[in-house]
Subunit: 343 residues, 2 copies
């Protein structure tokens, strides 16, 4: 009954439930597509982003869809060009500007997660008559300015709901890109920050929960509306030798499983860092936190390296182990909870 | 009342008319977006594709939306994985496979029109429950194989109508890319083939006209369903010195105007090449032919050069002139008929 899915990394937090007759599931379809394109690019499908060799540079390319009502709650038209942050309007509303901002950040987070530097984006944008596309573009621009990307082209059309497809491109030097599936047994697993804030923010927006601390509410909702990709952290993780890296757009549990599957290692977790106000379930299964998971040889002190660089210290959450089927937190198995949409 | 629009080149042939209150028109919006992004990529917006300098190569990037009911008529589910060409089913139906094929060709035609070689595509694909996305992907694969592109990634979701957003990337050597706005006064204007076939094919599919010659009907409908980007012709045009180039996705008249506006030249046309079965109106205002317009110094015999390369000879249709407002066919002004959607 889940209405959204992806290949590569997908930012899925808002799920529409409808009555439907399932015909084909997400994972079956992605596998079929990968096989179908085995001779024309299929090997690139499945990581956060594709890595293209261009002589003295690598080009890293990711593609992400953002759909109103699927990846974000329905938009509340802002009817103003003033940034709604701090302007007194209801912070729990999702505006066109939030939509534009988030469509960019989800794609460039995938570039960051490869250890590359996001540089360019293209945007396909479409929405119903009455959409304030300039407001969407204001959000796109905020993200482009904040994360130093150029919008180099796009396409526009009318459609039944507001949708954005962003292709983000970044560069790094040859062999610098860090895939998700290249860690080894016995490495430490690090996360750049506590998880679950975005999902908890979504539950606040949807009025499923109440929290009395206004500052905390604002903070959690911002995590959902204005996620910040960890660009500096990703570059630093690469520089200190990260053997694999992935961003948490589908929830910690799912991403750990992705990382382990590709490398044929098991996962043993000691601690799950939980965002203030969020629950363990938010942290394990909530998407769109955009924190990074990376793996390092056990001798590297990532905390010291991050602090030296003026970044928040990452959290060591566990180790990779040789039992490749193992997915444990302490002594308990954790569920690998992936959304699977069907048509 | 027109429901579709674009920035850069846009392939718009199928127009949905609805009752609406106009709020902002296409051209106003595109201009606003270009201005808004003046410091972060805005200068790249407006040509067929963006040109990125990557040291010893140029990367050329285009982005195109294809929406069922907007850029193509509504899909007739094929309920079979067998290519419908020659298989006895109704050729006038648009299938998921046609949709997939066309979504790729519209984006790579923009790469070709810059004189670059298309190499990679990413695809965002979404459609309602019940869509046969594997059939769409079969069409995508047909195009990728035929035009030697790799599908390197994408994203998938459920949405109210079938939509595809394709980002195509191609390469060429530094300074090789041919923009649309760089011709001079006194150059010859060439077109790679007769125009209007795709629009005439659309009118056949929509049963607005009848033609008795079955072979011609099949040919015209194929022009709409399976447009062929002029990749070899584009490379050759570049090699023999084309000073500017553009593909005809919005109709000959509109594209000639685009070419002239950017270069501040006028256009004097002697002859309009019309596809068999099509009308002058189809040829001037019909989109999605994917033929190329290019400009050359008057001394170059493009016919001889194309024939030497085994390609169909292009047609010299007129000249650029110094009266920059002039848009004439013989002694008559031609209308510059651009679609403008509003929200």
């Amino acid at each position: 009954m889940l209405e959204t899915w992806g290949w590569g990394l997908e930012n899925v937090v808002y799920v529409v439930v409808v009555e439907q007759n399932y015909q084909m599931g997400e994972f079956t379809l992605i596998k079929a597509i990968k096989n179908m394109f085995i001779d024309c690019g299929g090997s690139q499908i499945g990581d956060d982003a594709a890595i293209l060799d261009l002589g003295d540079q690598q080009l890293v390319v990711s593609n992400d869809l953002t759909i109103e009502g699927v990846h974000l709650p329905k938009i509340t038209p802002s009817n103003s060009r003033i940034d709604d942050f701090g302007s007194g309007c209801d912070i729990s509303k999702i505006t066109e500007r939030d939509f534009g901002y988030k469509s960019i950040t989800s794609a460039i987070s995938d570039i960051a997660a490869m250890g590359a530097e996001p540089r360019w984006v293209t945007l396909s944008l479409c929405g119903p008559v009455g959409s304030d596309l300039l407001e969407v573009m204001e959000g796109v621009k905020e993200a482009c300015v904040q994360f130093e990307c150029d919008l180099i082209g796009g396409d526009l059309s009318v459609s039944p709901v507001l949708m954005a497809s962003v292709t983000a491109m970044g560069t790094c030097k040859p062999s610098e890109a860090v895939p998700r599936d290249t860690c080894s047994v016995g490495e430490a697993i690090w996360v750049t920050g506590p998880c679950g804030g975005a999902r908890c923010g979504l539950r606040l927006i949807n009025k499923e929960i109440e929290i009395v601390d206004d500052a905390l509410v604002g903070d959690l909702i911002s995590k959902q509306k204005r996620p910040v990709p960890r660009l500096k952290e990703a570059i630093l993780a690469r520089l200190i030798g990260a053997s694999s890296m992935i961003d948490i757009s589908d929830g910690l549990a799912h991403e750990l499983d992705q990382l382990a599957n590709g490398a044929n290692v098991g996962i043993s977790i000691d601690t799950v860092p939980i965002y203030d106000g969020a629950t363990l379930e938010d942290a394990l299964y909530g998407g769109e936190d955009y924190e990074l998971i990376f793996t390092l040889g056990p001798e590297v002190d990532a905390i010291e390296q991050f602090q030296k660089a003026g970044l928040n210290p990452p959290i060591k959450i566990g180790m990779t182990v040789k039992e490749s089927e193992l997915r444990k937190i302490g002594n308990k198995d954790f569920l690998v909870n992936g959304f699977e949409a069907k048509w």
